[in-house]
C-alpha cells in the first residue's frame, strides 16, 4: 500500500501547515475566554469567520472533515447549545463546496459576499436555536451581523499573512 515517495511527488505537508490554520480557528473561538462578563451578545463569532477565511481564500489549508473537530472545540466554550457549531460549520463547508462547483473562480468581493451571507445565516439560526423567540436580542444580533461582515476583510488579511508566514513558507 505505502509506496516510497518518488523524487517528483510533492513534499508532505509540514506540521505548521496543518497546525496554523486549525490553531488560528481555535484561537478565534477561544476569544470568549477573555475576562468580559457580557450583558448582551458582544463578540462576533471569531472562530467561524476565521474558518470561512481559510476555506474561501486557502481551500486546501483545512481538511474536508475539519469543521466537525473545530466546531466541537467552539461548542465547548461558546455557550450555544452543544452541537450547534459542529452542525453549522459542517453545513457551511458543504454549501461553499456547492458554490465552488458553480463558480469557476471567485474574487475577493464574492468571497466577502459568501462569508457575510454565511455569517448572517449562522447568527440568525443561532438566535433561533439557542434563545426563546420572546427574548429581546434581535437588535443585538443585527449589530453582531454588521460587525462580523465588516470583520471579514480583516480576517482575510490575517489569513493571508498567516499563510505566507507559516503555511506556504
Amino acid at each position: 500500500m505505502a509506496r516510497p515517495r518518488g523524487p517528483f511527488d510533492p513534499p508532505p505537508p509540514s506540521f505548521l501547515a496543518m497546525a496554523v490554520p486549525a490553531g488560528s480557528v481555535i484561537f478565534g473561538s477561544m476569544l470568549t475566554l477573555l475576562p468580559i462578563i457580557a450583558g448582551v451578545p458582544l463578540l462576533p463569532p471569531f472562530g467561524f469567520i476565521m474558518l470561512l477565511g481559510w476555506r474561501l481564500a486557502r481551500t486546501e489549508a483545512l481538511p474536508v472533515w475539519s469543521p466537525l473537530a473545530l466546531g466541537l472545540a467552539d461548542d465547548l466554550v461558546s455557550g450555544q447549545p452543544f452541537g450547534f457549531a459542529m452542525l453549522c460549520w459542517a453545513v457551511a463547508f458543504v454549501m461553499i463546496d456547492l458554490v465552488d462547483q458553480r463558480l469557476v473562480a471567485r474574487d475577493f468581493w464574492q468571497d466577502w459576499l459568501i462569508a457575510g451571507g454565511a455569517t448572517a445565516i449562522y447568527l440568525l439560526f443561532g438566535r433561533l436555536v439557542a434563545t426563546p423567540l420572546s427574548a429581546y436580542v434581535d437588535m443585538f444580533v443585527v449589530a453582531q451581523i454588521a460587525v462580523s461582515v465588516m470583520l471579514y476583510p480583516v480576517v482575510a488579511q490575517l489569513v493571508g499573512w498567516l499563510d505566507q508566514r507559516w503555511v506556504s513558507a
Binding site: P35, I37, P41, L76, M86, T131, P132, A135, V137
Partner: protein
Amino acid sequence: MASRPRRPGFSRRAQYGQFAGYVVLVAGGLVAALLLMLSRLDPTTFGAFRSAAGTVTTPISSGLGWATRTIASIPQGVGDYFGVMQRNAALRRQIDENRAQVQRARALLYENRRLKRLLGVRERADSPVVTAHLVSSSASSTRRYAVLDAGRLSGVAVGQPVRGPEGLIGRVVEVGINNARVQLITDPESVVPVRRVPDGLPAIAAGRGDGLIEIRAVNAGSAVFHPGDTFFTSGIGGIFSPNVPVARAIRGARDVTQAQTLAHADTFDFAIVERSFVAPETLAERPR
C-alpha cells in the same frame, strides 16, 4: 483570487481520501444535528464535556481576569494614597455620627431576634460556600452564561445561587473540578421568583437577553409598577434564599415592566456562591 476546486488529481488514493473526508463530514453533521436536538431538549446533557474543557480554559480566563483587575486597580491605589488623610478625618466624623444609629440598630436587632424566636423561625446558617470571581462569559452567544473560577473542589454544586455584593447574579448550572457555569439572571431562560419590597407584591423576574429583567406580576390585572420599585427574592421554589436584592424597575407600567439588575456581573467584583435555599417545612405547612 481564483478558487482551486477540491480535485485531488488522478491519484486513486487521494480521491478515496477526499471521498472519505466528505463521508465523515456528512455523517458528523448528522450526528451534530442529533446532539443539537438533545442539548436543546435537556441543556445540561453535555455539561460534562464543557466542564472538562473548562478545567483547562478557566485558569487562562482566571489569569487574564487577575491581570485586568491588577492593572485596573493601579490608578485607584495611587488615588487612595493621596486621599487617605482627608478620608481619615471624614471617617472619624462619620463614626461619631453613626454611634447613635448603631445603638438603635442594636436595639432593633435584639427585638428582631426576640420576635423571630416567638415566631419559631430558625435562622439558617448562611455562611457562603465560596467567594470567587466570574472570569469569562458567553460573549458571542445570545445566551447569558458566565464562568466562575471555583468548582467542585471548593464545594460548589449545581443549583446554588450566586450573588454579588449588591444583589443576585445567577445560579450554578454546571460544575467542573475548578470551574462552574453560572446562568445569569439576565439570561432569556432564567426565572427568579421575587417580591416588591415595601408591600410584598409577588412577581416573576425573567431575563430578557438584552441585559434587563422583565418583571411580571403573578396576579395579573391588579399590579401597578412604578419606576424605582425594588424587587427582592422571595424564596419561593427553594433555590434562591429570600431577601436578596434582584432588580429595580426603570419604567412604570401595569403587570409587566422592565427592570435593571442591582448587581452588575463583572470580573471586578466578588461572586459569592451560597447554599441552595430549602424553605423551612414548618412554615410551608402552616396554613395562612
